[in-house]
């Protein structure tokens, strides 16, 4: 290893490789270069690398994490893991606490995934987000099972087996959140300089992204329709007619997305003015579509909050549950409105930059 150091004039390759893997991709190149430049010994390199990494990871977590998206991820996971269900027996751990442990694990995984996110297609990002959340929930339950078997904790800490079916409903929505609202740097960039080729290329990239996201959204909708229909048929709940009407709405949206969800194709003979006009119109239309879709995606969650918190609180004379219902409904609405507002601002800037280059 010593000869390795002298030949390279820097840290041992193995040590450098370890620090390289631990550093977030967005900061890897300059930070590793700085650590190389300051290299004095393997011990100094390792110690400084690890200390620096903790700051860089925290900074990257702050930069890559959006509060309203995290809010929606918490809501959807907590609801689908049964956190809002009333606890009927006072001698068992509340459903909210059991779901809270699983949600905390999933959230840790999602934040770390944001930190170590490599560039990739939106669909892939969404799928990896959903897979990360699922893996972390399962890992947390596995850890609880080990602790329970070892006698370190009592029974009732784990979420019930039946909840996993409901929990699966969270995955398509997490996937869509990652695919649709994941950081889109191209949208944040100013419009390309005013040549036909550059604007056309920019629009083609935008079109490809929207089509990819549209496919992901349609797949998620189809999965939710299938899963929900299965739950309705097998459990035959009292609110089944309500559920079927939801599913009919989902099917209508699915049909619309199949027809007009992606950005329109650019005509081959479109000149610069026509290309810009189409680009502006599609940016605005896609933004409007997203606004409606986010509210639509969370309609079942709103319905769940009303029945599980508000209605239950009223019928069981539980003011705390009523207040919790009002607060969570407002908070969920605020998260959706904030996501839509943030994206709207970015879209308006992009439209303005397109007009500025005209």
């Amino acid at each position: 290893m010593g000869s390795d150091v002298s030949q390279r004039g820097g840290p041992p390759a193995l040590l450098e490789g370890v620090i390289r893997v631990l550093l977030p991709p967005a900061a890897r190149e300059p930070v590793l270069g700085d650590l190389w430049e300051r290299y004095r010994s393997p011990g100094q390199f390792l110690s400084e690398g690890v200390r620096t990494m903790s700051y860089v990871v925290a900074a990257q977590a702050r930069r890559s994490t959006s509060a309203p998206i995290v809010g929606l991820q918490i809501f959807i996971l907590f609801a689908c893991l049964g956190g809002f269900f009333p606890t009927m027996r006072p001698d068992v751990m509340p459903n909210g606490a059991r779901a809270g442990i699983a949600v905390a694990a999933a959230l840790l995984g999602l934040i770390l995934r944001n930190v170590y996110r490599e560039p990739g297609s939106p669909v892939r990002q969404g799928l990896l987000d959903a897979a990360t959340a699922a893996a972390m929930v399962l890992a947390s339950q596995g850890l609880l099972a080990v602790l329970m078997n070892a006698g370190a904790i009592g029974p009732g800490w784990m979420i019930s087996t039946g909840t996993y079916v409901l929990g699966a409903l969270a995955l398509p929505i997490l996937c869509i959140l990652g695919a649709v609202e994941g950081r889109d740097d191209s949208l944040r960039q100013a419009a390309a300089a005013g040549t036909l080729d550059s604007v056309r290329m920019d629009y083609e990239r935008f079109g490809n992204r929207t089509r990819g996201r549209n496919i992901a959204e349609m797949a998620a909708l189809a999965l939710i329709i299938g899963l929900s229909a299965y739950i309705l048929v097998t459990t035959k709940p009292a609110v089944a007619p309500f559920g079927w009407s939801f599913l009919a709405g989902y099917a209508a949206i699915l049909a619309y997305l199949a027809r007009r969800g992606g950005a329109a194709n650019l005509p081959a003979d479109a000149d610069l003015a026509a290309t810009r006009a189409l680009y502006r119109a599609e940016l605005v239309r896609q933004d409007k579509l997203r606004r409606v879709m986010w509210w639509f995606w969370f309609v079942p969650l709103f319905a769940g909050l009303i029945t599980e918190l508000l209605v239950f609180g009223i019928t069981h004379d539980d003011p705390a549950r009523i207040l919790a219902g009002i607060a969570t409904i407002l908070l969920l609405g605020l998260c959706i409105a904030k996501i839509n507002a943030d994206r709207g601002t970015t879209v308006r800037r992009k439209v303005a930059s397109l007009e500025a280059t005209a």
């Binding site: 390279r8 004039g9 820097g10 450098e16 900061a27 190149e29 300059p30 930070v31 590793l32 270069g33 700085d34 650590l35 190389w36 430049e37 300051r38 400084e48 200390r51 620096t52 990494m53 903790s54 700051y55 860089v56 925290a58 900074a59 990257q60 702050r62 930069r63």
Partner: protein, 116 residues
């Protein structure tokens, strides 16, 4: 009254380091200059990165990548420069510091610096 953001002490040190380094402001040199300015206190390299990221998000500084160099294992440097908002914020912080120095001198006299 200006609308420039209020800077923390460490942010002031990092902005001053970038200003004084000119075209040679990147992680290693900024950290070294911050330690000079903050002496005898030490500063963690990671704390400098975290502060630079935060200030870039606030629009106080901007960064760009240079070409890779062999003494860094063939890796690029991330250079920083002050943006207009950073210049204004630093100017305001420096003016505040100047007024503090004058107030301390008026009370304790010129010798007060040697006493510390």
């Amino acid at each position: 009254m200006t609308n420039s953001p209020t800077l923390g002490q460490f942010e002031q040190l990092v902005l001053t380091a970038i200003l004084s380094l000119g075209d040679n402001a990147y992680g290693v040199t900024i950290h070294a200059r911050v330690e000079e300015l903050a002496a005898p206190r030490k500063a963690a390299l990671g704390a400098v990165y975290a502060t630079l990221d935060r200030m870039e998000d606030k629009g106080l500084v901007s960064s760009w990548m240079s070409d890779p160099t062999p003494e860094r294992g063939g890796r690029a440097k991330r250079h920083f420069k002050l943006e207009q908002a950073g210049v204004l914020a630093l100017r305001e912080a420096a003016a505040t510091a100047q007024r503090m120095v004058e107030a301390v001198r008026a009370r304790w006299g010129e010798d007060s610096w040697e006493a510390t």
